[in-house]
Amino acid sequence: MKIRPVLFSFAAISAALFTGCGGDGDTKKIVIDGSSTVGPVSQAMAELYADVEKNVAVEVGISGTGGGFVKFIAKETQISDASRPVKEKEEASIKEAGFDFIEVPVCFDGLTVVINKENTFATSMTVAELKKIWEKGSAVTKWSDVREGWPAEDMTFFSPGSVSGTFDYFTEAICGESGNSRQEKTTFSEDDNVLVRGVESNKFSIGYFGFAYYVENKDRLTAVAVDGGSGPVVPTMETITNGTYSPLSRPIFIYVSTEAAKREEVAKFVEYYLDNAPSVAKEVGYVPFSDSTYALIKKRFADRVTGSVFRGAPAGTPIDQILTGSGTN
């Protein structure tokens, strides 16, 4: 009979758990999910917004740009974080699900090519040389294969994993096609800190990842100046904002469901997001647009302009040009 007290406490716990099991009461929920690159910006916004609007709970998940869109299409989220423009297929599925989206760029991320601190020769490279290194079936195994005169030392390669938007964007901007990447002797990791450590500990290695990770590890790595045709440019806040660091600076986005944008709290949150994007972007390691660009984006959202203008825009196109070019439909 000694089992009875155990049973009794068990029943009490169950009852306590399930009573008043409803939901969150009056709090209105906004759910965001998607890219791990955009995630920190959205999380910061959610965090700040918690102090502004007490009865709106903003929740942020991270399941990758593609994974985010899957949930967006299933109407499980109202806003989708994306480190690349929406794909045609995804757009078709969204329309099929009976709603539309507003494309809202939030700031720049500068992809940074990095080399070991002790590497003093390869501090500047052209896009053609980067392509030679990173494209599918690349014959490059030694630095001397990249440029004559560089040492004949074996290289090691560190790349973000293939489901990340960073990988998509880099391969498209450098190798001409999203997903076109070398596989041999390359370490792929979804964890950018693994890439940082890899390049840091291998003298003749090369890798790439988001600007935020470079900023945090400036003293341990060297950023390669990239020559996109008009001379080598080192990634900095300035060169990314003014567009001279090209083609490796990319805008990152949130996609807002048109259905959800009708809800007052969602619209207000997106407006708050855009108002605070410049300061928050800097704080989490990204690069804000110029004020005039934010004005254009705010107007687009205010007018609820649907559709994607960024998909298909060549990497490195000035952002204002994309926004004003075919900006309406």
Binding site: M1, K2, I3, V6, F10, I13, S14, L17, F18, G20, C21, G22, G23, D24, G25, K29, V31, D33, S36, G39, P40, S42, Q43, A44, A46, E47, L48, A50, A57, V58, E59, V60, G61, I62, S63, K71, A74, E76, D191, D192, N193, G210, A212, Y213, V215, E216, N217, V280, E283, V284, G285
Partner: protein
Amino acid sequence: MSLKSRKMVGIGATGVFMFATILAVLILVILIFEIVSSGYKDLDWKFITSPPSVLSAEKAGIWPALMGSIWLMALTAVISIPVGIGAAIYLEELTVKNKLTRIIEVNISNLAGVPSIVYGILGLGIFVRQFHMGRSVLAGALTMSLLILPVIIVSAREALKAVPDSIRQAAYGLGATKIQTIWHHVLPAAVPGIVTGIILALSRAVGETAPIAMIGALSYIHDAPKGVMSSFTALPLQIYNWISYPQKEFHEIAGAAILVLLILLLTMNSIAITIRQRFERNRQW
């Protein structure tokens, strides 16, 4: 082989085994030392009770994640314990051994070896999408229950099996029915073993990241869950999230969060030990 050389072999073997033991313990000690030394300085009451932050590691805390983990664990326990023990009693005490029960047995043992991410996919498909539970604590707990049920059933069966048959015979001899025998004699005698299995299974559930990441528990949420339908995040996910940030300060507070998770697990294990000892003291065989 002479006596001397045989003795030498014995001494050598003892040395090897002792080395293996010391190595295992040493690794554990180093691990705990690492965690404690990197985590203790960030661990204070504010860290426990604050919501997470991306803007400043100093302000960041683990309240929603800690409460999420506790909710997840409690709900998983409530769901999986009755089902698990019920299944074990049925298979061990009530049914006759035939082909069907053999098939069920083999399946349960196999399920215990299925990778946890597979349960995550199952949970996402069935609970989150099919039953429209969303990313709630309930969906998470049901998924975790699936994950740990095989472990609970197998260990509960072993515990029931270990109860001597003479106890059952004595109860029958005094006129007890089958259910009375199980309820008043077999089950109390098996409690220590059952509880050990449950706690080990629950500890596993608390430490698991893959299934809850799969069903889409959140990485940022400001409040602790308020009910079974609230969305949630859990400690392992919060730790994973912080480790992947670029800033080193977040890697350090991840250490503090690991320490909290460790304390949570050790607390659970000590509860298990206490319960086991209480029941064992009362055992009369």
